[in-house]
Structures are given as structure tokens and as C-alpha cells.
Amino acid sequence: MRKWIQTAKFSILALFGMVLLAGCDNSKYIVLNPKGPVGHEELRLIIISVILCAVIIIPVLGIFVYITIRFRDKEGNKAPYQPEWADSKVLEIIWWGIPIVIIAILGVFTAKTTLNLTKPPVQNVKPIVVQVTSMDWKWMFTYPDKKIATVNYAEIPAGVPVQFILTSDAPMNSFWVPQLGGQEYTMPGMSMGLWLQADKVGTYFGAGANFTGKGFAHMQFKVKAVSQADFNKWADSVKKGSPVLTKAGYTKLEKPSLEKELSFSSYPNGLFENIVNKNGGKYYHHMSNMGDGSSMSGMDMKK
């Protein structure tokens, strides 16, 4: 048996070695390396939950090892043997109690964070709105304030809360920019809000997180956070120098395909609203949050 324990020790060490070698570059863990307030708040909850779990797991594993060594069935083991001892109110209260307390603490933090994330990350800066449509198999971003559109990349001003309004003109996907914060589904017929904000200038990896068929694996996009001045400059240049997205153009874009990064100087009026409506939005108004003030009637779930 000792040989087996040796093997186990060796393999565990080897395993840790491999994982450490493979992932020694800390900056690659983008979820753990957020660049905005939403991502930071989520990271804080992740850390709290890890600590709360470790508090219970590490001692339990310790007890497990101790019990195993002490109470092995071998000749001359002097440890007490009480085959009939099977009840202890005190002990049971303790181990019903510990997890209840831990879950209660974590529950409170979870509830707080959940509520926090439904609000803009900072209150004193005027947010901007970016509408996001997932399609087969690309992402379209429309800027209702600027009336410009992009495909497979978005530019946002750093330090400004961004209300992403999400829908889908294809099977449901999920909009995820790990370094800015967690994801939210894009669903046909619904438009839902997600608050994100970049604190630092940079280009962030974004991906579709829910499977949508053949081209799904290629649905990455970039979110470029730039200064407010650069953002305005970029918007102007798109306005001036890019082609127009016409109705016919959208019909073509809508067809299943993979696309490179595209920019459009304008898009048909009410494009986003029409996408939501034609996919079922007209049946459930209360789910709609168009984000541009043109709003459909009913409540805004994220406010």
C-alpha cells in the first residue's frame, strides 16, 4: 500500500507542477484581472466565495486524513473502537450549523452584489448606450446616439459607464467581455441591459458564450476602450469614411456568415427595435429596454 501512497504523492506534485508551469503568466487569467468596476466587484465576490469554501474544505480534508491514519484496521492499532457509537446531538448541531452560517454570509454578499450590478457602476458620469445584436455568426453593435454601426468590434470611452442593450437575430448567444465584467444572454425578441465600464484604455477580448451552431467558435469580438476624445474622433471618422448600412445591406448581413471587422456610417432607422419586434418582442413588451429613450412601453427590468 505504501507504494501506492508514494505514487499518489508523486502524481499530485507532478500535476501541480504542470499547471503552474502552464499558467505562470498571471495576466493570462483575464477573469481574475479585471479592468473595470463591474469586473472588480465580481472578482471580489469570487474571492469571498473561495475563502468561505476554503474555510470549510481545508479542515475537513485535514480531519479526513487524520481519521484515515488513526483508525486503520491493522494489528495493534490502539485507537478506540466503538462500533455502536453513532449519534451525537452536539456534533450534529455543529456541522449543521457551520455550513448554514457560511451559506448565510455568502448569501448576503451575493444578494448585495446582484443588486449593485443592476445600477450604473458610477453615478456621476453620463452613461452611453451601445446596442448589441448577435447574429449567425457575428456581432453587430449600433450606437443610437451617433447613429453608427460596427460589426465584430466595439469602441467605448474609458471611464464612462456603458449600458449594453442586448438582443439576438439568431439563436440565443451570450455577450461576454471577461475583463470588463460578466456576461448576459442575447435573446431573440427580448432586449436586456448589461452595465459595463472600462477604467483603463485598452483592447479587451470578447466572446459569444452560448452555442449557436456551425460558426459559433468564431464569434469573438474586440472591445476597444479609448479616451473620450479619441472615441469622438473615431465616431466622426466612421461617420465620414464608412459605407452606409442599408436595409438591403442588413438583409445580406443577417444571413449566416463569418465577417471581419466592419464599420457603417449609418443604419436604417429603428433597426434594433425592428429586430427585437420581429423576433417576438411585439408579444412581450415588458421585456424590452431599447436604451435609446424611444422605448417600448412597460417597465425596464434593469433600472
Partner: protein, 653 residues
């Protein structure tokens, strides 16, 4: 339906599969004909209603499905081992991950679980069979035929490729035309009806068929776990049936329950499917908890600690599991209030689960621990499940889940709880009860090789996947490019993960070899009590005679057999003289098998939208039910003399 698309063509791997299917079928037909085994197959297995044989058939089928699902897993890992790999095209990869998930949960875990139900529960509660033996056979054959229908899709018609839960609108005609998705629906629908029937069967068996002196609160914990899992089955499988039926109506009859247009609501499907799907994972893990409870008590030579707590926590898990489904879509934009409620409910499940771990530990405390093969799997289970449970709690914290959802973190988590909890548990149960069913133990040395390969393979495969989740890799990607592979660091971890998958693949070979080797060379058990057990199943010979108990046993509190053995060891113990009585038994019947064949015809017909064929199948199903209701010769008696002779031959007199 264009018949030129009937057979899947174009992929050399599929042609390989075609050839191997034909060869294996020919080999089986040849074997059965040459050794004149057809009659034996029909009399002993196909028409049997004996729970032990049905259990063995479930076991065999689930091991074959484990192999199929495992091959799928290895193919996926091969494809992901390096960036920009061209080993599998997107469509094929999508079919494989869909098949892998569906098979592992519905056609591997479920039948493995039912194998343990059937092999153990009647023996443990002192019963001669389940409450409805014929229905039990129906359940098995519906599962089997459903699994076959689902499995042939990769050579005929094409497999489903919309994920194991097939979310619409992707799974609707608009995005998934063709028979693949229908195969998925009908395979699951048919076997799901069987699962529901098994749930009912075991609730009634446990409530009504216990040996008269066994009280519910003295029943062994494995049987309790079966009862709580069966109650959950009864609660949620009808939801699955209904949901699949709605999807069928959408696809077959042009309905609009879940479509994008005409007022359909895909979100409704997601709710329904998880109302079944989440309790489903607790359904498969509860019996594993039951297995551990039996094993830990036996191999610590001690009563299980905190019996009432154990029972209460299982019931609590099966009840609370109904209220956690929305945690699968925290990110679908439900309000903060909804997310908080479901997050807290999900975390609450961790409490009774944690309590069970403490109770197992304190069963070992002041016991005498023997590290045998079944116990090894318990040792593997504890750390694996603790970490898996912890990552589950992390996922339950809704806002944190926004960052884990659909990433490899999630993949690592559910493999850790499903392999660490369910597979390890069922394997522990398999090693534990194998000698009971077959009369010999499985070889120790080969078992340890398999065990350590499983352990190392598991951690090498899945630990890197947690890290991949933190690196932003999402599930169901058939490939990733060089930038993601190297600059973002995905490639090395994926490569390590693939090595782990291969190690697990090797250990499956060891286990198959272990079984084959042990059939010839395994340590024979003539006592019927291979592990110095505590519960009633160990009081009868291994393998048990067809009627299980010659005389219905008297249960005196918990762990009856343990205390009876102590009594027997005392000086002056006198065996009470026994008088045998005739035993009433159910007769074999071919109807379940024939009914399943008709279900297959129906499912196959509707899959290809050949409605005439589907309707013929359904008429056949109704016909078999009709025929059964006029079958009066369904039981027989084993005479007292026969019982006496059998017991004598088994050395029990």
C-alpha cells in the same frame, strides 16, 4: 426526406463505424447461431422479469454507453489539443459534444443507476422482486431501444448537434432541419417514459415490498437514497416528457411553442428543460450518496453516524433541488430578485450535502477502516466532491456566475461533481455489490491500476479546465485560433487536458480487462457475505437464487445481518429449524421487448417524418398493451420441495 441522405456519408470515421457495426453484429449472430444460443438469449434474458437479470442488462448497456461517450470525449479532446486543428470539422464536433452529453447523462448515468437499483434494492429490503416486475422489464427495454435509436443516428440520418439540452430556437426546424434533432427527441422521449416507470416501480417496491418486519426508519440508507431519487423522478420526468412533446409538435406539426416567430418563446423551453434537468443531476447523485453510506459503514465496521440526519438530508436535497433550476441561466436577464432567490436556494443544497460528508467522516471515526476496492473510490470521492461542491457554491453566487457561465470553469465543475460524485459512487457500488450478483470479486491489482489512472487522469484532464475558464475559453468551441492558443495561453492547458482524457481512456481498458480477467480468475465468494456486510443482501447466497429469500427475513432494527452474525457467533446459538413454503413468482414475458420494438418503429418513423410508419409503431404499442391485459397466465409457484433442494444445493441447510 431525400433517401440519398439516409446513410451518413463522407467521413472516413463514419465508414469505419459502419464497418465495425456490421462486423460486430455478424459476430454476435454467428456466435448465437453456432452455439445454438438464440433460445437461451430469449428465455434467460430478453423475456426475463427477474430484477437481478434486468439489473445486469442495465449494467452492461451502461458500460457500453460509457465506452461510446468516452470515445466521443477523446475525439473532442484530440480536436482541442492544439490550436487551429483540422481533425474534426465544426458540424462533426458539434454532433459529438451533443452526443457525449446526452449519452453520459441519459444513457450512461441513468441506466447505471437503475442497474444498482435493480441489483440491490429488493435484496436489501428482503423482497423477492420489485413491485411490478413486468413494468420493470418494460422500463429496461424502453431505455435500451431509446438508446439504440439515439445511437444509430451517427450512421443513419445524422446526429443531433444543438447541445445535450437542445435549446430552441437552435433546435427548431429553422436552424436544425433534418432528422438529427428528431433522433435526439425520440431517443430521450422513449427512454424517459421507461425512467418514469422505474421511479414509480421503486417507490412502490420500497413502500410496499419490504420484508414485513422492516420499518421505514430502519431501512438501509441506499434504499432510502433510491426512495428519494425515485420521488424526484416522479416529480420531474413528466416535465421532460411534456417539454419534448412540445418541441415535437413544433418540429413535426409546425407548432410555435418555442420558435422565434409567431409568438413562440424559447425562454419557456429553457425554464422547462432545467426544471427537469437540475433535479436530474440530484437524481443521479443521491443513489451515489446511498452507496457511500453503505460502503463507509461496512468498511469502518461501525454503524452509520447520524442516520436520521442522513435520511433527512437526502429528502431535503430531493425537495430543494426542485427550486434551483434558474441557476442555469442567471445570465438570461431575470431580475435581481429572481437571481437572489435561486442563488440562495442553490447554496442551501450545499448544507445537507456537507452534513453528509461530516457524517461519513464520523462513521469512520472510532471505527476500523479497511481500504478495499469499493472504499478506495470513496477516498477518491471525498476530495473530488468537496472541491467540486465548492466550485458549485462559487457558481451559485449569481454575480460571480456572470463570469463563469458557459466557460470551461463550468465544464470543469460539472465534470468534477458528476465524475467525482456519480461515476466514482457507481463504480464503488459496482465493486461492492459485484460479488453479490456474480459470486466472485473483481481482481484487486487491475482494479488499483484502473483506480489510479482514473484519479491522475481526472485531475490532469479537468484542473486545467478551471484555469481555461479564467482565461476566457467558452464551452462548445470546436477550435480556437493561434492568438487564443498562444497569446491568451489556451493551447498548453488544452494539451494537458487531452493527456488526462487519454489516461482516463486507458483506465477504462483496465476495467474492461479487470472484468474479463476476473470472470476466470476472480476470488470466488462462497459465503454470500464477501465484505463482512451489515445489511440483508449479504445474508443470502451469491449469486442469489431466483426467489432471493427462501424465507422472508426478520429485520431487527438497522444493520440486521450484522447483529444476527454476532448472535450466531455466541456460544449456544442454535439455528432455528426452518420450514419452507411455496413461493409465488412472476412469469417471463416477451411483451416488453415486443413493445419496445414497436416504440422503435414509431420513433424511427417520426424521426424521418414518415408519419405512416410512426403511426404503425404506436398502434403496435397499443396492441401489445391490449394483448397484455388479456394475458392471465402471468405467474407460477416454486414448490417448497424445490426451494429446499435449491437451498441445499447452495449449502444453506
Amino acid at each position: 426526406m431525400n433517401t440519398s441522405h439516409f446513410f451518413v456519408t463522407g467521413d472516413p470515421m463514419i465508414y469505419g463505424a459502419d464497418a465495425s457495426i456490421v462486423l460486430v453484429t455478424l459476430a454476435i449472430v454467428f456466435y448465437l447461431s453456432y452455439f445454438k444460443k438464440w433460445g437461451w438469449l430469449w428465455r434467460e434474458w430478453i423475456t426475463t422479469v427477474d430484477h437481478k437479470k434486468i439489473g445486469i442488462m442495465y449494467l452492461l448497456a451502461s458500460l457500453i454507453m460509457l465506452f461510446r461517450g468516452g470515445v466521443d470525449a477523446i475525439l473532442m479532446r484530440l480536436q482541442l489539443a492544439i490550436p487551429n486543428n483540422h481533425f474534426l470539422p465544426s458540424e462533426h464536433y458539434n454532433e459529438i459534444f451533443t452526443t457525449h452529453g446526452t449519452i453520459m447523462i441519459l444513457f450512461m448515468a441513468m441506466p447505471f443507476m437503475f442497474a444498482l437499483f435493480n441489483m440491490v434494492v429488493p435484496l436489501q429490503i428482503g423482497a423477492r422482486d420489485v413491485a411490478f416486475p413486468m413494468l420493470n422489464a418494460v422500463s429496461f427495454w424502453l431505455f435500451f431501444i431509446g438508446a439504440m435509436l439515439f445511437n444509430i443516428s451517427f450512421v443513419i440520418g445524422g446526429s443531433a448537434d444543438a447541445g445535450w439540452l437542445s435549446y430552441p430556437p437552435l433546435s427548431e426546424n429553422q436552424f436544425s432541419p433534418g432528422p438529427g434533432q428528431n433522433f435526439w427527441i425520440w431517443g430521450i422521449q422513449i427512454s424517459g417514459i421507461g425512467s418514469l416507470a422505474t421511479g414509480i416501480n421503486f417507490i412502490v417496491t420500497i413502500l410496499k415490498m419490504r420484508t414485513p418486519s422492516m420499518r421505514l426508519r430502519e431501512m438501509p440508507l441506499f434504499s432510502w437514497s433510491v426512495l428519494s431519487a425515485s420521488i424526484a423522478i416522479l416529480g420531474v420526468f413528466p416535465i421532460l416528457t411534456g417539454t419534448l412533446l412540445m418541441l415535437t409538435i413544433d418540429r413535426l406539426l409546425g407548432g410555435h411553442f418555442f420558435t422565434m416567430d409567431a409568438g413562440g418563446n424559447p425562454m419557456m423551453y429553457v425554464n422547462f428543460i432545467w426544471m427537469w434537468g437540475h433535479p436530474e443531476v440530484y437524481i443521479v447523485v443521491l443513489p451515489a450518496f446511498g452507496v457511500y453510506s453503505e460502503i463507509v459503514a461496512t468498511f469502518s465496521r461501525k454503524r452509520i453516524f447520524g442516520y436520521s440526519s442522513m435520511v433527512f438530508s437526502m429528502i431535503a436535497i430531493s425537495v430543494v433541488s426542485y427550486y434551483t433550476w434558474a441557476h442555469h441561466f442567471f445570465t438570461m436577464g431575470a431580475g435581481a430578485d429572481v437571481n437572489i432567490v435561486f442563488a440562495v436556494c442553490t447554496m442551501i443544497i450545499a448544507i445537507p450535502t456537507g452534513v453528509k460528508v461530516f457524517n461519513w467522516l464520523f462513521t469512520m471515526f472510532r471505527g476500523r477502516i479497511r481500504v478495499t476496492q469499493p472504499m478506495l473510490w470513496f477516498y477518491a470521492f471525498v476530495p473530488t466532491f468537496l472541491v467540486g461542491g465548492a466550485t458549485g457554491v462559487m457558481l451559485a453566487a449569481a454575480p460571480a456566475d456572470y463570469q463563469y457561465h458557459n466557460s470551461y470553469f463550468l465544464i470543469a465543475h460539472f465534470h468534477q461533481v458528476l465524475i467525482g460524485g456519480v461515476v466514482f459512487g457507481y463504480l464503488a457500488g459496482l465493486y461492492y455489490w459485484w460479488p453479490k450478483l456474480f459470486g466472485f470479486k473483481l481482481n484487486d491489482r487491475l482494479g488499483k491500476w484502473a483506480f489510479w489512472l482514473w484519479q491522475i487522469g481526472f485531475y490532469v484532464c479537468f484542473m486545467p479546465q478551471y484555469a481555461l475558464g479564467f482565461m476566457g475559453m467558452t464551452r462548445r468551441m470546436y477550435t480556437y485560433n493561434q492568438t487564443m492558443g498562444w497569446d491568451m495561453g489556451w493551447a498548453p492547458l488544452n494539451f494537458i487536458s487531452t493527456i488526462g482524457a487519454f489516461l482516463m481512456g486507458i483506465c477504462f481498458i483496465f476495467q474492461a480487462w479487470q472484468i474479463i480477467y476476473s470472470i476466470k480468475h476472480g476470488e470466488r465468494d462462497v459465503t454470500g457475505d464477501a465484505w463482512d456486510g451489515r445489511t440483508l443482501e449479504w445474508s443470502i447466497p451469491s449469486p442469489p437464487p431466483v426467489y432471493n429469500f427462501a424465507i422472508l427475513p426478520t429485520a431487527k432494527g438497522r444493520d440486521t445481518w450484522w447483529y444476527q452474525k454476532q448472535e450466531m457467533k455466541q456460544d449456544g446459538y442454535k439455528k432455528e429449524p426452518v420450514t419452507f413454503e411455496a413461493i409465488h413468482m412472476p412469469k417471463n414475458t416477451g411483451i416488453p421487448f415486443i413493445m419496445a420494438i414497436f416504440w422503435f418503429i414509431a420513433g424511427f418513423g417520426f424521426t424521418f417524418q414518415w408519419n405512416w410508419m410512426g403511426i404503425i409503431g404506436l398502434i403496435g404499442v397499443a396492441g401489445t398493451l391490449f394483448a397484455r391485459s388479456f394475458q392471465y397466465d402471468t405467474d407460477y409457484w416454486i414448490t417448497a420441495e424445490e426451494v429446499e433442494q435449491t437451498e441445499k444445493a447452495l449449502g444453506r441447510l
